[in-house]
């Protein structure tokens, strides 16, 4: 037996799940929402999605080439970022908005902080908020040939009646990927079944949000009002796909519940009392910033350390 043996520390076997397989699952899970967005908003949406994803991936590739780092676009994380960002843009936005957003998300929010796993804020949301502040009128223009009215949440805030069935299916104005609750939930179920995400964050987020608007919404327990808030805007996309972003959510189980509740309350405050109709993006990036604190106070008790501190 002259051939050399491989020697390493235990364990000697590894599971088949890899970073790229997880990211690929997220991309697949986003396809129903993406597909519906393209169906709903047409060719403009398709072009914007492609441009945004391409610029995100290209930015990561060029940055790593220039900095002489190993190229990591094969892990699909830049695709996820680009796609999530595109789904958060209105279909009316010009193509260069996608480029600026993709570059900002990857270069500023992700790579400058150390790349995958080191960013303290969800890159797609960071870029969306950056665009929202810098190009407010473009980012808030939801008028297309099909939809000439306000977004459902804006209408709701103005005191108008909304059609909840349209909102659940997604036949409303809004960003490309947020309108169809059904498409988003189908994707989320896929991820939950695969074990990529669990219900700890989305569950506590949505439940605490419902409780908050019931208490402070001025409608009491009005199922129409609550369903409109759940189905309208970016809550579903945010709760299932962005609040659950591994890098920027607490790693401890208890911390995840606290984080979800925090997001629910913050979203409620922004939606009910803020000047804008929407608040999911801001709530999540503020939550991202407080994650280290959540993790610190929810450090789990080690096995056999029941209660008492070591």
């Amino acid at each position: 037996m002259s051939d050399l043996m491989k020697v390493s520390s235990n364990p000697h076997i590894r599971s088949k799940v890899t970073t790229s397989s997880i990211m690929l699952a997220v991309v697949i899970a986003l396809l129903p929402a993406t597909g519906f967005g393209i169906y709903n908003f047409g060719l403009d949406a398709l072009i914007l999605i492609l441009v945004t994803v391409a610029s995100a991936v290209l930015t990561e590739y060029l940055y790593e080439k220039i900095m002489h780092k190993p190229v990591t676009i094969g892990d699909f994380s830049a695709v996820v970022t680009g796609l999530l960002l595109a789904l958060n843009l209105p279909s009316t936005a010009p193509w260069w908005i996608g480029v600026i957003g993709g570059v900002f998300a990857i270069l500023v929010v992700k790579m400058l902080f150390g790349g995958l796993g080191q960013n303290f804020m969800n890159p797609a949301l960071g870029a969306r908020c950056f665009l929202l502040i810098s190009y407010t009128s473009i980012m808030c223009n939801f008028q297309t040939d099909t939809y000439t009215g306000a977004t459902p949440l804006a209408a709701l805030k103005a005191g108008e009646n909304v059609n909840i069935l349209d909102m659940v299916v997604g036949r409303t104005a809004g960003t490309i990927g947020e309108t169809s609750m059904i498409a988003i939930v189908i994707g989320a179920c896929f991820l939950i079944l695969l074990g990529v995400i669990d219900l700890r964050i989305p569950g506590s987020y949505i439940v605490s949000f419902v409780i908050f608007i019931t208490l402070f919404g001025g409608h009491g327990f009005d199922s129409a009002f609550i369903s409109a808030h759940l189905a309208g805007g970016g809550l579903m996309l945010g709760a299932f796909f962005m609040a659950t972003d591994y890098v920027t959510r607490p790693v401890t189980k208890k911390g995840q519940y606290v984080y979800g509740i925090f997001l629910g309350i913050l979203t409620g405050i922004f939606r009910l009392f803020g000047p804008s109709a929407e608040g999911v993006s801001y709530a999540i990036i503020i939550g991202n910033l407080i994650v280290p604190l959540f993790e610190k106070v929810t450090l789990p008790k080690a096995f056999g350390r029941g209660g008492e501190k070591a």
Partner: protein
């Protein structure tokens, strides 16, 4: 009733089908036998033979040195060829007694065995001590110490660890099927040492035949129960096993005795039977030789000291070139680079794989997925501990319960970024333990 288990854990491919239906076969060694003086936790044994001496099967060749130590017996007859450092599975060179086998297997005159009923507690413990029995599941802690806690009346449970949760291993399974009477007898001997104790045979539920057989054989034993455990790695980890069977949780600073428990592995309990009832010292153990590189995976009854090469030859040799050879199971075993090492009291398996997951998968950046936290049976945050360990932040490592890690390997197994979490945490723990010792 909810199945008995613990929080966390993993379900790796178990590979047990390769060897589980192969009855135990005895292997007679052909070449020299090597007995490392340190095959247990504690002080290395002191040789009591010298070069050129003729020894018989069952003759004591090394004496326990100090309290935490164990004697060693010759397992063949022959001549002492040398007392010199030899390589062992961990890669270290350990002072060893080398015996040239004369192939006669001439035995010593076995001492008279006193009837069990007439033995006192001290005599029983002394028999176990003198037989050189140590924890044969892998740790190698001298068994007589486990069986003589400060307050024996406070021991409520004597648990036999029949979980065998490591993938690929089937030695305990075969022993349970083939020698269940000896197992139960060994447990009864252990129980006789503790007036208030009840016996538990804890078996994972992927071995329903064992559970049924043991239940049948113990149906008239009022003090012994068979408990089925959920099949999950690391169900056989001592602390997790105690929790699953009794609901008592102990941390890393405590011993099972603090929770009123004594835990021994299947092979160890059978060795107790052999020592106390039959008057035989520890000379054999069961080794599973398996893996996809082995032509004919088998369970062997091996004389301690037998060279690993001979075991591979007995199993038909390699049908494919192995890439990785592991002494023990894939989760906690040692990767070895040379088959020229001896079987010791703690060698449970020889696993030969044609594929090495570890070197095939390049580690990448942590994405904070939290899978390591979810599977950790010690309920620590492996991702953070590995960070602290890599940056040599001792204070944060200890403060975040780094010492509670049991090195089971679940975090490394499950990590999608393929980070060697267990490895870095383990290294840091070793350094911390060494420091504590110094103090």
């Amino acid at each position: 009733m909810a199945r008995l288990t613990f929080v966390g854990g993993i379900h790796p491919y178990d590979g047990k089908d390769l060897s589980k239906d192969k009855p135990i076969r005895e292997v007679l060694p052909k070449g020299d036998l090597v007995y490392p003086l340190s095959q247990h936790i504690g002080a290395p044994a002191t040789p009591i033979v010298k070069k050129g001496d003729r020894v018989l099967t069952g003759q004591k060749i090394a004496e326990a040195a100090g309290f935490v130590s164990a004697p060693i017996y010759a397992t063949v007859s022959g001549t002492v060829k040398a007392i010199e450092p030899r390589r062992v599975v961990t890669g270290d060179n350990v002072m060893s007694i080398v015996i040239e086998n004369d192939g006669l297997y001439e035995e010593v005159a076995w001492p008279e065995v006193k009837p069990f009923e007439e033995l006192t507690r001290e005599e029983k413990i002394n028999l176990i001590k003198e037989a050189g029995i140590v924890g044969m599941g892998g740790a190698g802690f001298p068994t007589f110490i486990k069986l003589s806690p400060k307050e024996p009346e406070k021991i409520d449970y004597v648990i036999v660890n029949c979980a065998e949760c490591e993938p690929y291993l089937t030695s305990d399974y075969r022993k349970m099927l083939e020698e269940p009477e000896k197992l139960i007898s060994g447990l009864k001997v252990s129980l006789s040492l503790f007036e208030n104790a009840r016996g538990i045979l804890a078996v994972e539920d992927n071995k329903p035949d064992c559970i049924e057989l043991l239940k049948k054989l113990t149906k008239d034993e009022t003090k012994i129960t068979v408990k089925a455990l959920k099949t999950k790695y690391p169900q056989g980890s001592e602390r997790q096993l105690i929790y699953a069977t009794t609901g008592r949780a102990i941390n890393c600073d405590k011993l099972p005795a603090d929770a009123g428990c004594v835990v021994n592995n299947v092979d160890t309990v059978i060795a107790i039977h052999n020592a106390v009832i039959e008057g035989r010292p520890l000379m054999h153990r069961i080794v599973t030789v398996t893996g996809d590189a082995i032509a004919d995976p088998l369970n062997f009854k091996v004389r301690i000291g037998t060279n690993y090469h001979e075991l591979v030859d007995e199993a038909g040799g390699f049908k494919e070139q192995p890439v990785k050879i592991i002494s023990g199971g894939p989760m906690m075993g040692f990767g070895i680079f040379d088959l020229d090492v001896p079987t010791t009291k703690t060698s449970s398996a020889l696993l030969c794989l044609t594929k090495d997951d570890v070197s095939e998968m390049e580690p990448s950046a942590c994405i904070n997925c939290g899978k390591c936290v979810e599977v950790c049976p010690g309920r620590v945050v492996p991702r953070k501990l590995a960070d602290y360990a890599e940056h040599y932040d001792e204070e944060a490592f200890v403060k975040n319960n780094g010492m509670e890690c049991c090195e089971c390997g679940c975090c490394s197994f499950v990590c999608p970024a393929k980070r060697p979490l267990t490895q870095v945490i383990k290294s840091m723990r070793k350094m911390q333990l060494a420091k504590r010792k110094k103090k």
